[in-house]
């Protein structure tokens, strides 16, 4: 094993291969700046060029590219609160408040140093565990996968923060959302509203961008301020501080790096929740986290980013050892394996072990290069946070529209993002935690599948398996602890009784009523489904309804006595507190109006007419920016999107109204 690892290292250390790897890293960083599956499309395009290379070089290139496409994600997450990918959503929670305090440089540099060490540690874990991985996986069958999912779902209890009940309601709604589309067992069309778009369920990317990116941009438009008006440190000092933060929290980096590496190695867990689990872990274990997390605690950034990068190594395992690709990018990598005559499976751990180690080293080196490069520039990036909102907003919005469209490349993606944008913004305003919703949404599909598979295959025996019992116990403990803490925070049964009183009506309760109404409608729509297809949706819907009603009743009839709960609210706090309710609503209305007009314009005249038009009108009407700046920004952005998405990645843009009315107009790109 050691010998294979060393052979591989000397192969990769060849200057030419290192050069190719570095080229892959640079390309991956450029592609990865854009949200969405840029990495996937990029890999698909570059794949044929690697066929003529020798296997070590080919994989150095492909893994170099693949390993760093998520490395760019913390930049928009920290600077604008817009997660650059599904994996960086947790980074927003502490990264954005840090940026608001003028500590963007520190946050970015901590994110990158954490990313770097987490990634290295993930690779190391991978290197050590690879010989035992295949035999170990014999013990991971469907019941164990189910248990992992339940354990993941139990993180909801930690994430729900101030209001565990609401967190559970949100998680149940997330589960229900994951069940849109053809049911995995009977093929019943669940909540598809007779559209083809929902056949395969809601795509992740538009949901994440809607829930997390749109609300931040909306608040930016409401407050009409830069993210941060000041920079606390100069470039160099920010970098030093962030690095020191990571070093000081080395034990956290190792823990979260392990979480990232191990979870990514389990087929099906998926990258979208790993950062949340690491974040929840840090929140539960770091000293004083309850008070500071979510308000700009650097440890939140470190936890999520060290796990985020470690998963790149872990995700290789199922692909290498079993030929089960965890992601679409891994599926492409798998086809590259075959082209080079490498057979995933036992051979990769036997005769081809040195190739396997070659891949691990490639991921590790790519991490060093990618995170190192980003680290080096983090101070410069940090300055972006001080830009005026009229510069940032139209640019970022245009890009996330395209990002959402990458979800399944249909109009539905754009609608989905808008709808979840409204939902996300309202949740944020009314302090409903969004992470549980996302967690339920991401894990729901696996939960239902493996529940039925376990019962069909093993009856009830599967519940007695050791790993299942252990994980279920951990999940139970997480819930029990959260409720116990909440109970204690409210001062026990006597204090709760004392807090009960006359009804207390507030406008915000209307939202709870709306949510409950929506769940009820979904349940009614579910009534004609056959038993198996309807079982899990009905149970989760029922739980959502009853807990939601309980939470609403609590809100109406209960006022905490004394200091009440000092627990942190597991969410970003809206920065618009100083504005009046009417102003907030009005400005939010205007913001969503802009989004709608973007949509209408894109449907009428296509993306390449819309982007310059939108950027220019927004900058002129909202901010009276100077024309030269307006034109420069509109032109650069349009050209960038045109070259990358139209010329290189060949995105099939939807046909527009203009094209239907005037077929000659199709000479205009995007029409």
């Amino acid at each position: 094993m050691l010998e294979a690892a060393l052979t591989a290292l000397t192969m990769i250390a060849d200057p030419f291969r290192l050069g190719v790897l570095a080229a892959g890293v640079v390309l991956g960083l450029v592609i990865g700046i854009l949200p969405g599956i840029g990495g996937l499309a990029g890999t698909a395009l570059l794949l044929p060029f690697t066929f003529s290379m020798d296997p070590y070089t080919a994989f150095a290139f492909l893994l170099g590219l693949g390993a760093v496409t998520a490395t760019g994600d913390p930049i928009p997450a920290i600077l604008f609160g817009v997660p650059g990918g599904a994996g960086s959503a947790a980074t927003v929670l502490d990264g954005l408040p840090l940026a608001r305090r003028g500590e963007a440089g520190r946050a970015l540099s901590a994110a990158y140093s954490a990313s770097l060490f987490g990634g290295l540690f993930g690779a190391l874990m991978l290197a050590v565990s690879i010989p035992v991985f295949r035999p170990m996986m014999r013990f991971v069958q469907s019941p164990e996968l189910l248990a992992f999912t339940v354990f993941g779902l139990s993180m909801v209890a930690v994430m729900a923060g101030k209001s565990p009940l609401r967190g559970l309601v949100a998680a149940c709604i997330g589960l229900m959302l994951s069940m849109f589309g053809a049911d995995p067992k009977t093929g019943t069309m669940r909540w598809t509203f007779d559209t083809l778009y929902l056949f395969e369920g809601l795509p992740l990317l538009p949901v994440v961008l809607g829930l997390f990116a749109v609300p931040e941009l909306c608040d930016l438009a409401i407050t009409r301020e830069s993210i941060s008006t000041k920079t606390k440190y100069n470039v160099r000092r920010g970098m030093v501080l962030g690095f020191a933060d990571t070093v000081r929290n080395w034990w956290l980096v190792i823990r979260c790096g392990s979480i990232g590496g191990v979870l990514a190695a389990i087929p099906g867990i998926g990258g979208a929740i790993i950062d949340w689990i690491a974040y929840a872990h840090a929140r539960a274990t770091c000293r004083g986290a309850a008070e500071t997390f979510g308000k700009g605690d650097i440890r939140g950034v470190i936890a999520s980013e060290s796990a985020n990068n470690a998963k790149e190594g872990g995700a290789l395992i199922p692909t290498i050892a079993f030929g089960v690709p965890g992601t679409a990018t891994m599926a492409l990598l798998l086809s590259a394996f075959l082209v080079h005559g490498l057979q995933p499976g036992p051979d990769m751990l036997g005769p081809n072990l040195s190739f396997t180690y070659g891949m691990i080293w490639s991921v590790a080196i790519a991490n060093i290069l990618g995170a190192g490069l980003c680290y080096a520039f983090s101070g410069q990036f940090a300055k972006l946070a001080t830009l005026r909102y009229t510069l940032i907003l139209p640019t970022v919005l245009s890009i996330i529209f395209i990002g959402a469209f990458e979800g399944s490349r249909s109009w539905g993606d754009v609608y989905t993002m808008l709808i979840f944008g409204v939902i996300g913004w309202t949740m944020k305003q009314l302090q409903w935690a969004r992470p549980p919703l996302l967690l339920g949404f991401v894990l729901g599909d696996m939960f239902e599948r493996y529940l039925f598979i376990s019962i069909d295959r093993y009856g009830m025996d599967w519940m007695m398996r050791p790993l299942v019992i252990a994980l279920f116990a951990l999940a139970f403990f997480a819930f029990a602890r959260a409720f116990w803490q909440d109970y204690r925070a409210h001062g026990g049964i006597r204090a709760i009784k004392a807090g009960l009183g006359k009804p207390n009506w507030e406008w915000s309760q209307l939202y709870s009523v709306l949510v409950l109404g929506a769940v009820a409608i979904l349940l009614i729509l579910a009534s004609p489904w056959d038993f198996q297809a309807g079982l899990v949706p009905r149970i989760t819907g029922g739980i959502a309804l009853s807990l939601g009603a309980l939470s609403l009743a609590g809100h109406i009839f209960y006022r905490p006595v004394g200091a009440g709960s000092a627990k942190m609210y597991y969410e970003l706090v809206a920065q618009s507190g100083h504005l009046s309710g009417t102003t907030i609503l009005l400005r939010a209305g205007v913001f969503f109006g802009w989004l709608l007009s973007f949509l209408v314009s894109m449907a009428t005249a296509g993306i390449f007419v819309t982007i310059p038009l939108f950027v220019a009108t927004y900058m002129r009407l909202e901010g009276k920016e100077r024309w030269p700046l307006v034109i420069a920004n509109a032109l650069c952005l349009t050209l960038f999107v045109y070259f990358v998405f139209d010329r290189i990645l060949h995105i099939p843009w939807p046909h527009t109204l203009l094209r239907d009315l005037l077929p000659q107009a199709r000479v205009i790109p995007g029409v």
């Binding site: 499309a41 066929f51 009977t186 083809l196 089960v324 046909h655």
Partner: protein, 352 residues
Amino acid sequence: MRRGPFTVSAVLAAALTVTGIAAGTAFADESAVAEFYSGKTVRFVVGTRVGSGGDTYARLIADHIGKHIPGNPNVIVENMPAAGGLVQANWMYNQADRDGTVVGLTRESIPFEPILLGDASKAEFKLDELIWLSSPNMFPNVAISWHTSDVKTVGDLLENELIVGGIGQTGSTNDAYVLRNLLGFKYRVINGYPGPSEIDLAVENGELEGRATAGWTGLSTRHADWLRDGKINILYQTGAVKYPRIPDDVPSLMDFAKTDEQRAILELKYGSNAVGFPFFFPPEVPQERVDAVRKAFEATYADPEFIKAAEAQHVDVFPVSHQEMEAVYKKAYESPQELRDKLAELSKPPAD
């Protein structure tokens, strides 16, 4: 015999003229086609994901076909995988440009959707209006059992239960149900896996014992070690035509049909295996461009550079002509309603 106004020489002369005109038109057609395609971009719109089998063929062909289409257009690949490829097929029929610049590639099962699902189908296309171009390969399927299972042959399958995985109601689940109901194969389906590779993993770790349907191409490339090390038994292949790469001693499923009706049902069900990767034009594309692109597909298959690239990627090319494709679809679409109803009846999960 009455001698008409035509002499032999006159006939000959006429024939020559006709040929001349024909050649002339052909030439004119070709130059018109070349003029049309010159400087244009032809889009291959693929109804499956990046990295899928179909996508691999599309990208491989796109790399080489440009030089065989008159006018040498630039050829690019786009993916439109939503709703299992149905969105793409509907889009090709309703919206795609009808000038020969958009070539579609759909899943092998999509053309059969309207017949097998009837009114429940969301297909908006009329199959007979789509213009079939070529398919670079068939879609051979086999049934397998893991080496530790009691089931080693089809004979065993009639005696012993085989636990197999399923993905929803179509594909392998449906195959297992139909074969259990029709031929008495004792499949027990555990349904709900996310995809074929998860099923393969479950077979390997002992949760399942085999697969009622496994694509041969995926099996022989991704799990070559299973074949090499004798990890699996291949029970049968599903297609009516034996696939050249599958070992000769593997029987065809058709051999187990005892009656003509059983055979007809199996042919209807597995007809899609004969056309693996259907490339097509939307309706109304001018005939000369259709002819030119069909020819270009054939020329590509014979192109040494293409062959070399396909071999390097371990991709088989056993082309299916547009006439063969049309024959398969025609047969399926002309199948009597009772047969389709019967197949739908057989697709229900077995009562036990």
